[in-house]
């Protein structure tokens, strides 16, 4: 088997490990929009050395493979880590000891990261700590190179992989299959460079977008016609906790599982690509406000303008939009009018 792996020549060798997360980013990955998942990877020059859900090798076969990487007998081009890194209890890493090896996962990741050409954080847990770092963070969970929004994490702020890049943070909870595939394809084609990452080392191809872009509730947003309860059709920013106008991701232009997104599913964007999203300081489903005005205003928008525009647009809300906003079906359809000039 080892000979087969080494025989892959110039392909991008991907080693995928899971630690303090849920495995959901792998499950999401399998929903990638393709008729032939493995064929698509192979045709792009991506070779899965080992993946916890997708490989035959188990037990001793895996330990031997990991040893081969540490001994420089097997090349890893992209070390993909899914799940946060569990440093507790008391810095020992014993909250996750990799089965069959007696060695804490944080130690495996440190050693393997030193050998990899690229290190990729798959999902918000591996990037920042994520949900596992919530509450009082009982396991001292962190990301590969971040602790929430503070640089550092397991590998330290100064870490650079063999390629010279920092850890690439394909954040999201779960992460979108397209974000992972596009990242791996770019690495295989050697087209991802420092300038292609944003200030949090997220690939800019999705992190330079806002969830608001392409939201189907935009007409309700424009008129501040707001949903008041689950299943209402209106905009969820004012009352329901939606952060789509601030969250960095292309969820409403690159859809999920066919035609989905959080807002299209009828619930708030919780900004899951953002470090620290798991502890927003308010209940997720309710918008925090001061004097009736949401604290979190749309990105790049001056507050005074927002207040002025909101009050103006509320007073101009068409009856149709106002009534539909608090209903679970369209109760007033748009009037049919001619749009051409006589």
């Amino acid at each position: 088997m080892m000979a087969e792996i080494e025989g892959m020549g110039s392909a991008l060798n991907v080693l995928w490990l899971q630690s303090g997360g849920c495995g959901g980013c792998s499950m999401s990955l399998l929903c990638a929009d393709t008729t032939d998942f493995h064929g698509q990877l192979r045709d792009a020059g991506i070779n899965l050395l080992w993946h916890p859900s997708l490989s035959l090798a188990s037990g001793a076969e895996v330990s031997e493979m990991l040893d081969a990487v540490l001994d420089d007998r097997l090349r890893v081009d992209a070390l993909c880590v899914e799940g946060s890194l569990l440093r507790g209890p008391n810095g020992t890493g014993r909250f996750h000891v990799l089965a069959g090896t007696g060695l804490p996962m944080i130690e495996w990741v440190r050693r393997l990261a030193a050998k990899a050409r690229h290190v990729v954080a798959i999902g918000s847990c591996a990037a920042w700590g994520g949900i596992t770092a919530g509450g009082e963070n009982p396991t001292d969970a962190c990301g590969l190179q971040y602790d929430d929004d503070r640089p550092g994490g397991l590998l330290g702020a100064a870490f650079r992989s063999g390629s010279g890049l920092p850890v690439i943070n394909v954040a999201g909870c779960p992460t979108h299959p397209g974000w992972v595939i596009d990242t791996l394809m770019a690495l295989a084609a050697d087209t991802m460079h420092l300038a292609d990452l944003d200030t949090l080392a997220r690939p800019r191809f999705y992190a330079d977008q806002l969830v608001h872009h392409g939201c189907t509730r935009n007409e309700y947003y424009e008129f501040k016609a707001s949903a008041e309860k689950p299943s209402d059709l209106g905009c969820m920013m004012e009352h329901m906790g939606c952060k789509g106008t601030q969250a960095h991701a292309d969820c409403n232009t690159r859809l999920w599982n066919g035609e989905g997104s959080c807002t299209r599913g009828g619930y708030a964007c919780i900004s899951c690509t953002e470090p620290g999203f798991q502890e927003p300081g308010h209940p997720f489903h309710r918008t925090p406000k001061i004097a009736g005005i949401p604290i979190g205003l749309p990105t790049d928008m001056p507050k005074a303008w927002f207040v002025a525009l909101a009050s103006l647009s509320k007073s101009a809300t068409p009856r149709r939009v106002k009534l539909n906003a608090t209903a679970d079906h369209v109760i007033v359809a748009p009037a049919a009018r001619k749009t051409w000039i006589k």
Binding site: S19, G20, C22, G23, G24, M27, L30, C31, T34, F37, H38, G39, L48, H51, S53, L54, S55, L56, S58, G59, A60, E61, L86, P89, T92, F95, H96, V97, L98, A99, G100, T101, I131, T132, G134, G135, P138, T139, C173, P174, K229, P230, S231, L255, N257, G258, E259, G260, C262, R264, G265, G266, Y267, I270, Q278, P283, F284, H285, D328, H329
Partner: protein
């Protein structure tokens, strides 16, 4: 007696380690270790109760919806909230989509690949198994991933995304369905039905679901023993002796699956006792979690989850896993599709278990049978939507109270127990299906279901990761991230 430490165990969800004592070519005793702890029950403490609906799906990326459904049900119980029928139907369709996807993933990606191993190279079916089930390259593995991807598009529409939706509320679903959308959803279900009837069963789902005895199943198999992946599995199972491999404790737990408007379940709850051939009433008050052998505090002894405690104690003597040991009236039980279909009185499953017990063969059989049984029900639930009626009752949760949410995930019985004070969660306990199946020994020293099932498993000369052990472990379709959470 030799000792074998087996891990990392892949093609299970999460990390798993098994320690085996081997004597005379067989497993003499087994200790199962869930080697990762994240502390979700600690993380939930102090949160607003509704926040659980964001946090608990993230316990598990493969049973995400199951966790949401159990949590929504616990919160509904806390608030005395009743779903409108549309909310119930949509919730069931969403849960069934995940459960069936998990069955499909288990069969094609997790379980069958082991039969492509060189150890089976001399068997007459090996070449065909390789062609179909070799990881990453097998024809049917690739076809199943494609079918799964299309199948989950149901949840793009109904739940926004999968995994980790927030569309499942105590009062129903946040995503109303329009009439034209229902038409498209039904077409998508038929597409999956087509895959199952063409590739997996090579037969109509209704015909497979109606098989009522081992004799009927064997006669149907004999007609064309390699046509369709289910019949190839039956061929392999017979040749590899899977019907005698990995016998469980003989007691089977189901909380009842897919509650219908009016209160009945599509698959009834109950506890099946194989020895007495009898279905007993489920008594959830008799559940206890015993942490004697977990790296967790066991102060106060075994506890009911309503008063449960989860507190790490990493240096505890005698502990060997992060998992507690749930027991029902003091007894070890097995849960999963096999338990669900025994409780629901499916005649084929009852007959197969009466003949062989709960083993590798009967566990996989029950799972595949559910694919045939549930898809037609999903079509009915979608048909039963009254599209312009309400989908979600929205009522506030009380500041103080308790709630219980019992549900059936793909892997079996899942329970959430919540308590709130002053608008905050003060206790949240989760007992997941694999917590039942992969539990460690309890205070009496009684091994858990897998620990019992592994005893007697053959180990070949020189094996470091025994293939038969892998079959037994994977026959439970374990989810280790749910087990400990």
């Amino acid at each position: 007696m030799t000792r074998l430490l087996v891990g990392p165990f892949n093609r299970v969800e999460g990390d798993l380690e098994v320690t085996l004592e081997i004597a005379d070519g067989r497993v003499a005793s087994a200790h199962v270790n869930a080697p990762m702890y994240r502390g979700f029950e600690q993380i939930l403490n102090g949160k607003a109760p509704h926040d659980a609906l964001v946090i608990v799906p993230r316990i598990c990326g493969i049973c995400s919806v199951s966790q949401s459904v159990a949590s929504a049900r616990a919160l509904a119980d806390l608030g005395g909230i009743e779903m409108p029928p549309n909310g119930q139907h949509v919730t069931n369709v969403i849960l069934a989509t995940e459960n069936l996807a998990d069955h499909l993933t288990h069969f094609y990606l997790f379980f069958m690949p082991d039969f492509t191993r060189p150890v089976y190279a001399a068997q007459p079916w090996h070449a065909e198994a390789q062609r179909r089930f070799a990881p990453q390259t097998g024809d049917q593995v690739r076809a199943a991933i494609a079918a799964r991807q299309r199948w989950f598009e149901l949840l793009g529409t109904l739940a926004g995304k999968w995994p980790h939706t927030q569309s499942l509320e105590p009062g129903g679903s946040t995503r109303p369905v329009e009439a034209s959308e229902r038409t498209r959803l039904l077409a998508r279900v038929r597409e999956f039905r087509g895959f199952l009837e063409r590739e997996l069963f090579a037969a109509k789902l209704e015909a497979v679901g109606a098989l009522s005895s081992e004799a009927e199943l064997q006669a149907w198999h004999a007609q064309d023993p390699t046509r369709g992946d289910f019949r190839l599995f039956l061929t392999i199972a017979r040749d590899a002796g899977l019907a005698a491999l990995g016998p469980g404790p003989g007691r089977y737990l189901s909380y009842g699956a897919y509650p219908q408007p009016g209160g009945r379940h599509a698959f009834a709850p109950g506890v099946w006792h194989a020895a007495s051939n009898a279905l007993r009433v489920l008594d959830a008050a008799a559940i206890r979690e015993d942490a004697t052998h977990a790296w967790l505090s066991d102060a106060g002894g075994a506890r009911h989850p309503a008063t449960g405690v989860t507190l790490p104690d990493p240096d505890k003597p005698g502990a060997y896993t992060w998992s507690k040991a749930p027991r029902l009236a003091g007894e070890v039980v097995e849960t999963g599709a096999i338990a669900r279909q025994l409780a629901a009185a499916h005649q084929l499953v009852r007959d197969a278990v009466a003949r062989h017990g709960g083993t590798v063969y009967t566990r996989v059989l029950a799972r595949l049978l559910e694919l045939a049984l549930v898809v037609p029900r999903m079509e009915q639930w979608l048909q039963q939507l009254v599209v312009n009626d309400a989908y979600c009752a929205s009522e506030a949760l009380p500041d103080e109270g308790t709630g219980v949410g019992l549900s059936e995930a793909a892997r079996g019985s899942l329970g959430h127990w919540v308590q709130t004070e002053r608008g905050r969660i003060v206790s949240y306990q989760i007992v997941a299906p694999t917590t039942w199946n992969f539990s460690p020994r309890d205070s009496a020293g009684t091994p858990g279901a897998l620990e019992q099932a592994l005893v007697g498993t053959p180990v070949r000369e020189g094996e470091t990761t025994p293939v038969a052990v892998q079959h037994v472990v994977r026959s439970f379709d374990p989810c280790m991230v749910c087990t400990v959470h």
